[in-house]
Every structure is written in structure tokens, then in C-alpha cells.
């Protein structure tokens, strides 16, 4: 009971305070960084590679972010670089869809995007955490303008089909009540001496006072209807001016409903390191990043090349591909080295001459399935009628979430929101539908949250990632076992070939993973090539 006061070893905080006192804040920062707290991903700055042997050629396969970055840095280091890309565009999964675009998926369905001019949806990557410093570094270097992406919106909706009569509730109301009731319970437990065994008298006082401030409790430790709670969850009659300005407090939800709703998970959601604010998006669409990278290396890219085989011997790498711009003519390219960023579901089916362990690794990582819906409405009713500016509403229906645009606030005319973002079973289900069925289900489910959804709807598009011929899925999905058995072999240089991409990182399914993997791969490859020279 008293051991809370007699800790045998210094806590991290105590240690830091000591360093801080002794060495000033710079030392404190350094110490924190080395303890892994102030840093984000392990981006160490761009690699300063130089001295690549003149005439040494590197073939890069795939013009996603990993491939384009490899090409950019390797050329700077002195190598002769060529990129082969299957699609008729660069960017890979970094993509935005706009009016006039055509999306063809496996199975043959073709969607023509009908969005009004200027509107777009990011059907793949859409947000960038502030600590993805590698990606942010290159955005800055390549002149990609960023703006805030609103991740957490207290005025968005949380919806459970089974609780609150199936009606959505405001994040704000729910969060206030969940926090308030939780604080009240803990506060009561302490005051009724139910935690005496666990918490010292001194700490009890601190906890009770913390609960009161954190949970919005009254002086006697209760969470109840009144000014304090309403100043968090909002008033039934809002605060006004003048004669009739007095507000009327709002009713609380029943504690039991709050607890059983499971909606607290959406509060926890935004607490994850990857989901915390500040979050960014490129101005004008996520594909501005791909375009920024492309500006640097477009002269190195050959589009419409479907790679089918990667062979190597002691002296060369030979890549065989179909030139899709010329009737699929079979061609070959030779190089000294190869950086391959082709997504694993594709690569695992190609004729690739690498060691057994690397081959096994390539085949050991399945890709998650994901579907996104981009829906355009005649007007921003979520802003105009609902005061929702950006952020995400969550639902337990298959569509999972609705996310409102973080840009163009208060503008008139049509606007696009994310009408569904599915993973797991719901993603398989939606990917198996026709595009028209996906939109129809998206609208039907969205009605549970926005009653005017159908009335305001204009047009929509869906992207089912498992049906993209060039990834056959959304992102790598490592099992614990596969990571243990295969990760190293996947990343190791195999004679003249090295793999890179989101899948060869611990930051899977983030663009940062593609960046960090690419930098690591080319840094090692450069060393390797110099050793060989």
C-alpha cells in the first residue's frame, strides 16, 4: 500500500527531470529522443549517398512512392536509373479520383467518375500523421503543399444499431458522458473506501481531484445534468445573448447505455499513435505527392511495362516485360542491380530468380482487402445542417465510417465525402458487389446517420483494392509468425536484387513505410555496390 512511495528505481520521468535540471532543455530533448519519446518513425534524414560508379545501372520496378524515391536518390548518388511501371500513370497506391477519370477493375467493371470539377476522393491513402517525418520531408523538398486533415471532430456522429434506439449520438455528448460516468465511478469507489487496498491515502486524494477535473464532476464527485456537464456535451437550449439568452442544460444518456454501446472504441481510436492529431493531407488531393515525386524522376520512368520475370546471374539482372503500349511485345532490360517494389501478391506469382528464403518470404505475406466509397452530394449538408467540418462519423454498419472533407469549408455547390471505408469481412462483401450495388448499400447505410443522404446524392465511385490488377489487395498483412520467419529474408539483398515498399517495413499500410523501406534498401544496395566495385 505504501510502496507507491518507495519505488526502488528512478522512473523515466524522475530521470528526465534530473537530466533536464542538469543539462537544460536541449539535453532533455536529446534524452527523450533517445528514449524514443519525442521522435516519430525512425527517419534519420535523407541519405547522403555519393560515389556511385559511373555507368552502373539500376532498374527500379514500380513507380509508386518507394520506386520513385529509390530512383531519385540513386540518380543523385551517381547511378544510371530506369523505372519500369505497369500502369499508364506513376504514383502507385498514391492516387486521387476526379471527374473524367475512368476506373477499371478486375472482373471488367468500369466506372466513369462524374464528380463536379475540382472535386476529388482519395480512394487509397488520405491522411499523414505528423510524425511520418520521412514522407513529410520529401513533401517539403518536392514542393507538395500540405493542409490539416481533421481526424477528430467532437461534433461528428457515433452510431450503434443496437443502442440509443439505433440513433446516432454526437461524439461530444458521448465522450462527455463516458468520461464523466467513468470518473464518477472511480471517485465513488475511492470515497467509499473500496480501493483502499490498492491506492494509498495520499494518492487517493490526487485521484479524486483528478477525476473531478477530468470527468467534469460536481464538487461532491457526481456526474450529473447541469452547467458543468452541459459545458462539455452542449446545452438543450444553447447559450444565447440578451434577454432570453439563458441556456438550458441537456439530459445525460443512461450510464448503462453509454457503457454497453461500445462507442467508447471511437474515443480510443484517436488515441493511437498513428491516429493522433496533427494529421495532414496534400492540398488538392493525395496524388499531389505522387506528382511531386514524379516531377523529379519522370524522365526515368517507362510506363505500360508489365514485368513478368526477374532473373540474375553474377554480372547482371535481366528483367522481362510486356510493352503494353505496343501490343504486349516482349522486351528485356538489363542492369547491374534491381530495386523491386512490386506488391507481393503480384510478385509472388512472377518468375523471380532469388534465393529460397526470399522466395518463401515473398509468398508469405497476404494483403488485406479494403473498399472505399467516394460519394458526391449536391451541397455540404453536413456543414450547413449539422455543423460538421471535417472529421469522421463512425457506425457499426458495414460501411464503418463516413468522413467529411477537410477542405473547401463553407463553399457552395457539390462536395465529396468518404461514404464508407471497409476492411475485413465488410471489405470482402463490398468488393464482391458491382459498383452500383456498393453505392446503393453505402447510401442505404448512410441514411442511418444522415436522413437527407439520398435526397442530396449526386454520384459516386468505389474502389475495391483487391480488384486492382497491380496490387490485388490493399496492403501487406503480416502475421506474427511470418514476421518472425520471413521479414529479414524479404529485406536482405539477394545478390543483385533488393525489395522495397510498404510491405518491407514495420510501418505497413502507410506511405511512410514505403519511404523508410526504400531509403533503407538503397542505402544498403549502394554499400553493396561499392563493395563490389
Amino acid at each position: 500500500m505504501t510502496n507507491a512511495f518507495r519505488r526502488p528505481v528512478a522512473t523515466r520521468r524522475q530521470m528526465l527531470t534530473r537530466i533536464g535540471i542538469l543539462g537544460g532543455s536541449a539535453a532533455l530533448y536529446q534524452a527523450m529522443t533517445s528514449l524514443g519519446h519525442a521522435a516519430g518513425t525512425d527517419f534519420q534524414g535523407p541519405p547522403a549517398l555519393s560515389g556511385g560508379k559511373l555507368g552502373t545501372k539500376v532498374l527500379v520496378l514500380g513507380a509508386g512512392l518507394a520506386g520513385m524515391l529509390a530512383a531519385y536518390e540513386l540518380r543523385k548518388a551517381g547511378y544510371q536509373v530506369q523505372i519500369l511501371e505497369f500502369q499508364d500513370r506513376a504514383g502507385g497506391r498514391n492516387i486521387s479520383l476526379r471527374g473524367g477519370d475512368t476506373l477499371t477493375e478486375l472482373g471488367g467493371a468500369v466506372q466513369k467518375v462524374q464528380f463536379a470539377s475540382g472535386n476529388y476522393i482519395n480512394p487509397g491513402p488520405w491522411r499523414i500523421p505528423y510524425h511520418h517525418q520521412g514522407l513529410l520531408h520529401y513533401c517539403k523538398t518536392f514542393g507538395v503543399e500540405l493542409e490539416p486533415f481533421v481526424e477528430l471532430n467532437h461534433n461528428s456522429w457515433l452510431h450503434s444499431s443496437a443502442v440509443f434506439n439505433g440513433k446516432p449520438v454526437r461524439y461530444r455528448d458521448f465522450a462527455a458522458d463516458f468520461t464523466g460516468f467513468t470518473a464518477e465511478l472511480l471517485s465513488k469507489a475511492i470515497n467509499q473506501h473500496k480501493l483502499d487496498d490498492l491506492v494509498s491515502a495520499d494518492e487517493q486524494a490526487h485521484v479524486v481531484s483528478a477525476m473531478r477535473g477530468w470527468g467534469g464532476l460536481t464538487a461532491d464527485g457526481a456526474y450529473r445534468k447541469g452547467a458543468i456537464s452541459s459545458l462539455r456535451r452542449g446545452f438543450a437550449k444553447p447559450q444565447g445573448g440578451g434577454l432570453d439568452g439563458a441556456p438550458v442544460p441537456s439530459d445525460l444518456f443512461a450510464r448503462e447505455d453509454v457503457m454497453r454501446s461500445g462507442l467508447w472504441q471511437w474515443m480510443a481510436f484517436h488515441e493511437r499513435l498513428d491516429m493522433q492529431t496533427t494529421m495532414f493531407q496534400p492540398v488538392g488531393g493525395m496524388d499531389q505527392i505522387g506528382k511531386g515525386f514524379n516531377r523529379q524522376v519522370h524522365d526515368l520512368i517507362t510506363l505500360n511495362c508489365k514485368v513478368t520475370a526477374i532473373h540474375q546471374d553474377d554480372r547482371h539482372v535481366t528483367v522481362t516485360y510486356n510493352d503494353m503500349a505496343h501490343g504486349g511485345a516482349v522486351r528485356q532490360a538489363e542492369a547491374d542491380y534491381c530495386v523491386c517494389t512490386i506488391p507481393l501478391p503480384v510478385l509472388s506469382q512472377l518468375d523471380v530468380q532469388v534465393s529460397g528464403p526470399m522466395k518463401a518470404a515473398i509468398a508469405a505475406v497476404p494483403y488485406a482487402s479494403s473498399v472505399k466509397l467516394g460519394l458526391e452530394f449536391k451541397r455540404r449538408f453536413w456543414e450547413q445542417d449539422d455543423q460538421i467540418y471535417g472529421g469522421i462519423s463512425f457506425t457499426d454498419q458495414p460501411i464503418s465510417q463516413i468522413s467529411y472533407p477537410s477542405h473547401g469549408y463553407f463553399s457552395d455547390g457539390p462536395a465529396v465525402l468518404l461514404g464508407g471505408y471497409m476492411f475485413g469481412p465488410a471489405a470482402y462483401d463490398f468488393a464482391g458487389m458491382t459498383p452500383a450495388e456498393r453505392i446503393e448499400h453505402g447510401l442505404a447505410q448512410g441514411m442511418a446517420i444522415h436522413a437527407n443522404y439520398r435526397k442530396e446524392f449526386r454520384t459516386g465511385v468505389s474502389m475495391a483494392w483487391s480488384r486492382m490488377p497491380w496490387t490485388l489487395g490493399c496492403c501487406s498483412m503480416w502475421s506474427e509468425m511470418a514476421r518472425k520467419t520471413h521479414y529479414k529474408a524479404l529485406c536482405e539483398i539477394d545478390n543483385r536484387i533488393v525489395l522495397a515498399g510498404e510491405h518491407a517495413s514495420y510501418v505497413g499500410c502507410w506511405q511512410e513505410g514505403a519511404i523508410l523501406s526504400s531509403l533503407d534498401a538503397i542505402t544498403r544496395l549502394h554499400k553493396h555496390a561499392q563493395g563490389a566495385a
Binding site: F269, L344, Q349, A368, G424, P425, C509
Partner: protein, 139 residues
């Protein structure tokens, strides 16, 4: 019906939340879906997203979703059971998301439809015998 619905969602969460927890959507947002009481249901709501409604598969960038229609590799039921439970290349594992009954149902379904006419049936107990434990990264 409701409880089956939720149960499936719960199972799915166990299997799919965590593996994607690092992902963007990590979204930890795993939508739920209907009960899938027959092999045809499982096929329609899970498999056809890749293998296509007619089970003829599709041709991508030098890689494909193989056809299950007229596929001689389905001759031994153990093979599709193994693939569905463990995954295969880009195909995810379904152990943990589909029940033994559902795996048996869908394997029986693909082996008796799409031009396949195998007569031996897989039982849930056969599936149970093969069950791998595939752990997501973050548990």
C-alpha cells in the same frame, strides 16, 4: 439472427483488427456482415471479391486470381481447406474469421459448382483437424 450477426463480427474482430492495427485504417474499423449460413453465402460475400462471381478468376499485372471453376486442384478437398485456412500468396488466411462449418460449407460449395462435380463432402470436424493458429502481430 442478430446474435449470429454479432458473433461473426466478434470473431472477425479477433482475426482482423490486430493484423491491420498498424495500417492506416488500422481503422481498427472492421465492418460486420451477415451470418453466412451456406457455402453459397460464404462464396458470394467473401470469395467472389477475388475469384469473381463465376469463379473464373481474373488476370492482373502478370499475376492472377486463379479460377476455381473447373480447377483440377480441387480434386482433394484437403487442398482448398488448407488454402482457405492458411491463405496462399496474396490470398489472406480465413482461419479465425470463418468457422469450421463455414470453411467446410464453402469448400463443399466450390467443389460441387462452377463445373466441379466432386461427390465427397468435407465435414467441420475435418476442418478442425487442420486448424492452424495464425496470430496477428499485435496480440
Amino acid at each position: 439472427m442478430r446474435s449470429v450477426f454479432l458473433l461473426l463480427a466478434g470473431l472477425a474482430a479477433g482475426a482482423f483488427l490486430a493484423p491491420q492495427a498498424r495500417a492506416d485504417s488500422a481503422s481498427a474499423v472492421v465492418g460486420k456482415m451477415q451470418p453466412l449460413k451456406t457455402g453459397a453465402d460464404v462464396y458470394k460475400h467473401v470469395c467472389q471479391s477475388c475469384h469473381m462471381p463465376d469463379a473464373k478468376g481474373a488476370e492482373g499485372a502478370g499475376a492472377r486470381f486463379p479460377a476455381l471453376a473447373g480447377n483440377a486442384k480441387l480434386a482433394s478437398a484437403d487442398y482448398p481447406v488448407y488454402v482457405v485456412l492458411n491463405g496462399f500468396g496474396g490470398m489472406p488466411w480465413f482461419s479465425g474469421m470463418l468457422s469450421d462449418q463455414q470453411v467446410a460449407d464453402v469448400v463443399n460449395y466450390i467443389r460441387t459448382h462452377f463445373g466441379n462435380h466432386y461427390t465427397d463432402m468435407v465435414k467441420p470436424s475435418d476442418v478442425a483437424a487442420q486448424h492452424p493458429t495464425i496470430k496477428s502481430e499485435e496480440d
